[in-house]
Amino acid sequence: MEPYKFDVNNYRNLLKKYIASQDEKSLYQAEQFSKLSMQHNISPEEIINVHIQALKELYPDLPTEIDSSMNFLLETMISYGLAYQEFQSLREKQGELESEISIAANMQQTLLSTTKPDIEGMDIGAISVPSHQMNGDYYYFVTDESNNLGIAIADVIGKGIPAALAMSMIKYSLDSFPDTMRSPSVILEHLNRVVGQNVANTSMFITMFYALFNYKTGYLQYSSAGHEPGFYYCAAKDQFFEIKTKGLVLGVSCQVTYEQLDITMEQGDMVVLLTDGVTECRIGERFIETEEVLEVIRQYMHLPAQEAVESVYRHFERLQDFQLRDDFTLIFLKK
């Protein structure tokens, strides 16, 4: 089929053919014509104008009533034409914003990247998946010279971009702690002051669980700033225990002290750290129960740690029909 230019002659011939035969082919060509017009940013009133001209050429004795009515239609379409142009320009702007956000999300990944350490005798798995482009969850690993592994898992309340900005602050504060100061309660007390000073007067706050693990002795100390409790799996008893300590979320009150507890991990034991994206999972109309979460973990925990956390994630993703409502972060620490 011959291509149509936006041209009165073309339109007139098309119209003439259609009026004579009322065939589907002409209508199909009219559709092509309108698509071509859109590509060339031709506004609705201009199409009507072309129609008026074509009509007058085909029927020089057009009744004045029809002529006036066509002019009336043209006037009416002007505002639609404007709305269409505005829509086009807004769509362009949206495209720009989306690409900016995706650049920011990439940047966030680079800024916040943490390397999962390779420690002999330990098997570590970690996964963090944002529900939107920017992740409000965060995990962080750090090792020192005295066989210690520090693990932080955090959740910024408030999602998206503001949360991501706050997370960078946490990461750089964590980086600045000297090795000698890595006791979980001390770290949380410091971070609480940092957050409090920087997010005052907002409803933003951050929850964090911090664990310091000596991988030679299996001794694990932990503190929580209002974070979702993790679990300790004791192989000898084949049982899960909640690991929970009392402590206020970061950034709400200036002077807070954090309780610090400890456990000693034996061969085959495992520690599970997570965010509320895991525990607040919705299955249809109801929420998942802790026992169900543990059942899912149990189902996959025999796998290598990284494979296990990924399997648990995929399991939850399916449970929620592949629509995460919240950022999802899960860490397995297997000895």
Binding site: E45, E46, N71, L74, I78, L82, L90
Partner: protein
């Protein structure tokens, strides 16, 4: 030859008068039907803004010439509250979101030249030109 004329905007019906005068001048200058309709719509928008936000003001018309081109200049002026945040008002989606109409970005699209000067508390003057194609 340069002609000048103007229409006072004091009540809603004056918007019709302003459109009418703009359309007649446009027709005389040789504008086509589509451009006549565009000019009338732009005048409508400017006059409505005056009526809604400044209560009273004026739409003035001038025929202008450059090289071998003729054009119609439309100046909308008022002593109303002025516009605080011009860049906001010139943003797409700002005035249209509430169904208020095409807004100033619309006027800018309808015309070939657009300029706005506004001082909060003192008033606003919008100058636009459409050239005969």
């Amino acid at each position: 030859m340069i002609t000048k004329s103007s229409v006072q905007i004091n009540k809603e019906w004056d918007i019709v008068g302003a459109r009418q005068m703009g359309r007649e001048l446009a027709k005389d200058l040789g504008f086509g039907t589509v451009d006549q309709a565009r000019i009338a719509t732009a005048i409508s928008e400017l006059a409505r803004n005056i009526y809604l936000y400044a209560k009273k003001g004026k739409i003035a018309y001038e025929t202008v010439e450059k090289m071998n081109q003729k054009g119609l200049k439309i100046i909308a002026s008022d002593q109303g509250p002025g516009i605080n945040d011009l860049s906001k008002v010139m943003e797409d989606g700002f005035s249209t979101s509430g169904g208020l109409g095409a807004g100033l970005p619309g006027v800018k699209r309808l015309m070939d030249y657009f300029d706005v000067v506004s001082e909060p508390g003192k008033g606003t003057t919008i100058t636009t030109i459409k050239w005969v194609r």
